[in-house]
């Protein structure tokens, strides 16, 4: 066998094995790798490099070495899933560096974390004053997570006592001009429905680059042809406006009529319409 054919075969087979191993170890980013995974990653790369470029070595030894280097982090991962104590040993534990607004100098020293490191990481979390920090913890991966004091936290609807309507994730129903059947099925909708909606917007599906439907079945589209203006969805604002108009009309009728009974009927219904408006406004926004 000529040398170059051997190298070709070795390279392709080792790349396939390496790819499968990396997939098997799971979805972790480089920064999240623990010490075992990090070392084995480097060693696996080295083993592959040696055995692809050097035809004197025995291929089977290379595969054996790779298998062992793969098995060790795999076993560590497996035991870590089962045992907390083992996990603490292999992955380390988080260290509290600021508690109740006070910096824990001893913990900083133990982690070899300088004051400048701490300040830098706090700044990257938008905390320029340590006095604004209630609690900060240094994770085993090296990132610093910060809990600001209550008065420095961003406002949420909860702080205003508001209850926004729950929103489910939107589904992408058209991609590159092609209908996606599975997302449609997730919304309990069918292709006919989508065709009708696109007809309503006066666009053909071939011209649609991307279309998304929210959990209320409202469609927003992006077209290939950006010159064409697509109307915003109007169904919900229109409905709210209709009900508001009816409520105002009923109030007007109540004022106009001279019959006491009819006036009461109009007033009662105007209140009902108001009730309906209050009920559905959060969902129509």
């Amino acid at each position: 066998m000529p040398g170059w054919v051997e190298i070709l075969i070795r390279t392709i087979s080792l790349v396939v094995i390496l790819f499968l191993m990396t997939k098997w170890l799971g979805k972790k980013q480089l920064a999240q790798l623990n010490i075992f995974e990090f070392i084995s990653g480097i060693v696996l790369g080295g083993v592959v490099a040696i055995h692809t470029s050097n035809t004197d070595t025995r291929m089977i030894y290379g595969i054996l070495a790779m298998a062992i280097w793969f098995a060790i982090p795999y076993a560590v991962n497996f035991i870590s899933l089962k045992s907390k104590a083992f996990r603490n040993f292999t992955q380390g534990r988080s260290t509290v560096v600021i508690q109740d607004g006070k910096i824990m100098e001893d913990n900083l020293k133990k982690e070899g974390y300088t004051t400048d490191d701490l300040l830098e990481n706090l700044r990257s979390k938008n905390m320029f004053k340590t006095a604004d920090v209630e609690f900060a913890v240094l994770e085993p991966s090296g990132t610093l997570n910060v809990l600001p004091k209550t008065e420095n936290k961003p406002l949420t609807p909860k702080d205003f006592g508001l209850k926004p309507s729950p929103k489910k994730e939107p589904q992408t129903v058209v991609m590159d001009g092609r209908m996606m059947l599975e997302p449609l099925a997730n919304l309990n909708l069918n292709p006919n429905w989508l065709e009708t909606e696109l007809d309503k917007l006066n666009v053909s599906i071939e011209n649609v680059f991307l279309a998304q439907a929210d959990s209320d079945g409202q469609v927003t589209v992006d077209l290939y042809d950006d010159q064409i203006a697509v109307p915003d969805p109007t169904e919900k604002p229109l409905l709210l406006a209709t009900i508001k108009k009816c409520q105002a009309d009923l109030e007007l009728f109540a004022l106009e009529t001279e019959n006491k009974e009819t006036e009461q009927m109009y007033q009662k219904n105007s209140q009902k319409a108001q009730q309906a408006i209050d009920l559905i406004t959060p969902y129509l926004k």
Partner: protein
Amino acid sequence: MTVGSHVKGCFSSIKSAEASLEILANKTQSIEAQQAFKQAEQLMTEIKDDLQKQVVFLTQEEPTYK
């Protein structure tokens, strides 16, 4: 426009709102939204029933404008 035609216009708007609410209630995936839409639809139906009586009454009152 007469009182009768005003009331009739309002009546048809209510009917359209009722139908839209029903469509939304059927389309939405969230149970809370569905309940809110259904309740609103119920309210619309009640208003519609009352207005229908009024429309009938007004047509009798204003036979010329029927």
